[in-house]
């Protein structure tokens, strides 16, 4: 699967461009966008090559037209509906984070095993018991799922999701999910990320110490 990094950055560019257009900016050069995105100008140009929108030399990119191209490239025309699985601490935080932000990509249903939560509306999102999963997924035409359940429950849940039309999963459970190859899974392993930071912060300290010696 090529392009994965590029697509990620394209979504970032879009956000940055939205800020700019809100501020009244009409044109933007690759280095200006690059500075805001924390990458190089060449990378911006190369990424934008992928969506086929051509800027013009000396003037850069027309912000509105570029946004339109990005929208065309990134978004499903009718929008996509997302389900949240697991309404614990993390799930609730994700709900409050995502709700109302992206009209074309909204969380339309949440699920949890806790019967206390059934029927409640949390941050504007209805919470269902897990045995309604199949019905709701199909009724709402949900193709994307966010998995924020304990590790032991994740695989079984993923199987049910895939069997009912989910094509992409954002997985916060700290185990790898086994799914058919045509299903896209993005893993966010918080423990792994924190340990990575810890490791490389130590590395950094060592390197600077070593450099001082030379």
């Amino acid at each position: 699967m090529a392009l994965e990094r590029t697509v990620g950055r394209l979504t970032l560019y879009r956000r940055l461009l939205n800020e700019q257009v809100a501020g009244g900016v009409e044109n933007l050069r690759s280095h200006q966008l690059a500075a805001r995105a924390g990458v190089t100008a060449v990378q911006v140009r190369r990424d934008l090559m992928q969506i086929g929108y051509d800027g013009s030399p000396k003037r850069g990119y027309d912000v509105k037209k570029l946004l339109e191209s990005l929208r065309h490239f990134l978004d499903e025309p009718g929008g996509q509906r997302v389900a949240l699985l697991g309404v614990g601490n993390l799930g609730r935080a994700l709900l409050s984070y995502f709700i109302g932000r992206r009209p074309h990509l909204s969380i339309v249903a949440a699920f949890d095993t806790d019967p206390q939560l059934s029927g409640r509306v949390i941050y504007g999102c209805r919470c269902h018991p897990l045995d309604e999963l199949e019905d709701v997924l199909k009724a709402q035409d949900i193709t994307v799922a966010i998995v924020a359940v304990p590790a032991v429950a994740a695989q079984e849940l993923a199987d049910r999701l895939v069997q009912n039309g989910v094509k992409g999963i954002l997985n916060f459970a700290p185990i790898p999910l086994a799914v058919p190859s045509e299903i896209f899974v993005e893993n966010i392993d918080l423990t792994m990320s924190l340990e990575k930071v810890a490791y490389f912060s130590r590395e950094a300290a060592c390197e600077t110490a070593c450099e001082r010696k030379n």
Copy 2:
């Protein structure tokens, strides 16, 4: 910076091995570990090459000794202390997620601008006002920070962190942080991740549709 992915997987291997050793397993082959980690056996062997621990043919790896090698490779001997910046919904979820899990990598202080939170203890972690940042960082010898504040506040905060000895940042603010090159930053951009999933779930659907035609 090479090895980034490898270090990430090494932390995963360690978690899986801890489960195994708890279950009484003494030896493990590369395939077995690979299956649990969701990668290939070759990759496991290659990753383990990096830490210099040799398994033995036919018997695989001695779980306890391998864990010891991983600990030696991954961990700072005296442990590392972590600060959490921003105790909103996401911050609280992260606190509850991390607290008490990793003795060698524990969140020892939280900070928030909300004066209501000052002095409170949340999930076992003391919450400080932001103007105590410098003092607490130094007093507790904190080298790792988790940034879970709004985007507008993130850069200024990062500057203060770096100036006071923080060497690695786990950044949840959806903007790139400008920091000196020796500081390690791991970005977790939830919006980007979700949009990526949405994009590739659409891709997957297209590809399977196309394949059906052929």
